[in-house]
């Protein structure tokens, strides 16, 4: 009687569907991902139960760091180019085209206008090393108000968002809100983290 040979199955496995799916996912994530711009100022936002998502475009972000420095950022490139022209007109600081291009690529910045030209002239790696003092908000040199106002003129659809750090003191935040009110920006947003909404009985 011959031995019963166990049927040998090939160990090879068709992985085509899996690989197909993997590449599909790669494509999906490559298309969907938008790289977060490098944050010059690290902000740890407080949490709140709000469920409104931040808008995609046309946002003017005012960041308040835990060291109470105020940074300003505009997300749209075309707006930034118009903004820098308006700023140079108002403050009488001339910017060259390369400097304007550098400005258009900045996510946010915190240098007074007097130092802006020299800051923009730096190489990108040197820009990171610069300790940015923040945008002046005092009433004598209210540059933030001008930035907000001119950015709104550059793009009337833009909305203002305040991204404050948890540990930032109220005076700075209150001052920023006051500046916004002065510039007739009475509707603005506060960027927050997610928190579970409690049940109200």
């Amino acid at each position: 009687m011959p031995k019963v040979k166990p049927h040998r199955t090939s160990p090879s496995l068709d992985m085509t569907p899996m690989v197909d799916l993997a590449f599909l996912l790669v494509t999906f994530f490559m298309l969907i991902s938008k790289f977060a711009p490098e944050e010059v100022l690290v902000v740890d936002t407080p949490s709140a139960t709000t469920e409104i998502k931040a808008p995609d475009a046309n946002v003017i972000t005012i960041s308040i760091g835990n060291d109470e420095r105020v940074f300003f950022g505009v997300d749209d490139k075309a707006t930034k180019l118009r903004l820098i022209d308006k700023i140079s007109e108002k403050y009488g600081v001339g910017f060259t085209q390369p400097e304007k291009d550098v400005f258009a690529s900045l996510a946010s910045f915190g240098v007074p206008i007097s130092q802006l030209k020299s800051y923009l002239a730096l190489k990108p790696e040197d820009q990171k090393k610069v300790n940015q003092p923040g945008i002046p908000i005092d009433s004598a040199r209210n540059e933030l108000g001008d930035w907000v106002q001119l950015a709104r003129y550059s793009n009337p659809q833009s909305i203002v968002a305040i991204k404050g750090d948890q540990t930032a003191g109220y005076p700075v935040a209150g001052r920023v809100i006051e500046i916004l009110q002065d510039k007739n920006v009475n509707r603005f947003n506060l960027v927050t983290d997610m928190e579970v909404k409690p049940v109200i009985k």
Partner: protein
């Protein structure tokens, strides 16, 4: 595709012209594919930040335009140092001589939330005045605005802390420490 190449099994046969296999080893490509997949999955931030909408009143051009708030409809929240929170009902008018009793509250569900909720239920016309002191933090401001959203309080305003209220707050802070 990406399969284990089997060798052997053909030994002992006739020597024939070796046929080039049509199969290409795709293992490196698949490796790279998964590497990219992992990278993009990890770097993508699908979650957009949350925002809280605030509408501030338009700054009145002159005093005449301002509406007088009735004392019975006022409820003031004072934000102090070290995450402390105080509240009082009614208006504080030192010239009239009415000094409200300031009570301390806390950030828990039974703290300011309950107080505000009960007060707004009792009087739907209630206006909550939020007055933050210089010593308070931005987090407290967001927290109290969030409490307003949680309790669905319709009328609230961020008001500047004047000297009279600051004195009231200082006394309350000292009184609580005893």
């Amino acid at each position: 595709m990406a399969e284990i190449q089997q060798s052997g099994g053909d030994e002992g046969g006739k020597k024939r012209a070796k046929k080039g296999s049509t199969k290409v080893d795709m293992t490196p490509m698949v490796d790279l594919g998964f590497l990219l997949l992992t990278f993009f999955v990890m770097t993508t931030t699908l979650a957009k930040p949350q925002i809280m909408e605030i509408n501030m009143p338009v700054k009145p051009k002159n005093e005449v335009e301002q509406n007088e708030l009735k004392a019975s409809n006022a409820f003031t929240v004072l934000l102090g140092a070290d995450n402390r929170i105080f509240y009082y009902r009614g208006l504080h008018q030192p010239n009239v001589g009415a000094i409200p009793t300031v009570e301390e509250s806390n950030w828990s569900a039974n703290g300011i939330r309950k107080t505000v909720l009960e007060a707004t239920r009792a009087n739907p016309n209630l206006v909550v005045l939020i007055k933050a002191d210089e010593t308070s933090s931005y987090k407290n401001l967001v927290d109290i605005l969030d409490e307003m959203a949680i309790t669905s309080t319709q009328k609230y305003a961020i008001v500047e802390l004047d000297n009279a209220d600051a004195t009231l707050l200082r006394n309350a802070e000292k009184g609580g420490a005893q």
